[in-house]
Amino acid sequence: MSPRAAWRLETLGFTNVYDYVAGKADWFAAGLPREGELTSIPRTGDVAHRDDVTCRPTDRISVVIDRIRAAGKETCIVTTEGGVILGRVRTDRLDADAQVQVEEVMELGPTTTRADTTLEAIIERLNARKVESILVATSDGRLVGTLYRSDAEARLQEDRVEEAGQQIDQESCCCCKD
């Protein structure tokens, strides 16, 4: 639809027209700001931690160990220079020879989800797979952050409590009027 709109604008005399082909699905998948009636539904990108330690496949284990420890993390996400996720290294794999390169010990192709996945959906998925966290990536495979199941469950619980509180307030208001 957007290519036709871009051409239409040019026929209307606009000369500086761009077409964001990937559109809002791509934008939301990257966890970028959104507006509208459905924005109150919490998404993966809203609670993902964005402070992952990253490393390159050619980095030496010795360097990566120091970086992970300094950050107080348990994993390093292996990415390209542009941030595309290639793999993951867990601390229990870091007892290898310090001169070994990351690519020799990394776990390839870790599972990811998009930043616009609803928390309810991702919790169900994490529960089914019995895992505690999942990487969040853009539609072109770039790292957004890590979502922890505990954070997602806590956020949903907070929202439910808030919603219940609002309902009680509304009911109280109705009673007061009577």
């Binding site: 604008l9 027209v17 077409d19 990937a22 809002k24 507006e35 072109d140």
Partner: protein, 63 residues
């Protein structure tokens, strides 16, 4: 001729050139959720009148 761009360029144009974002999907889809700061002109209503508020001196990004 319109230029196809990706997310990073959209962000740059918005940040550095005050680009105007226009969602051309139907009204309800826009109301459900849209990119922050975007306005809505559904494709079927794209004409001189509905685009009169757009600034021709600044970039326009449609999606």
């Amino acid at each position: 001729m319109p230029t196809s761009i990706w997310r990073e360029e959209v962000q740059r144009l918005m940040r550095e050139e005050a680009a105007q974002l226009v969602e051309v999907l139907p009204r309800q889809e826009y109301q459900d959720e849209h990119i922050e700061g975007a306005t809505n002109i559904p494709l079927k209503r794209l004409n001189r009148e509905t685009t009169s508020h757009l600034d021709k001196a600044r970039p326009i990004i449609v999606y």
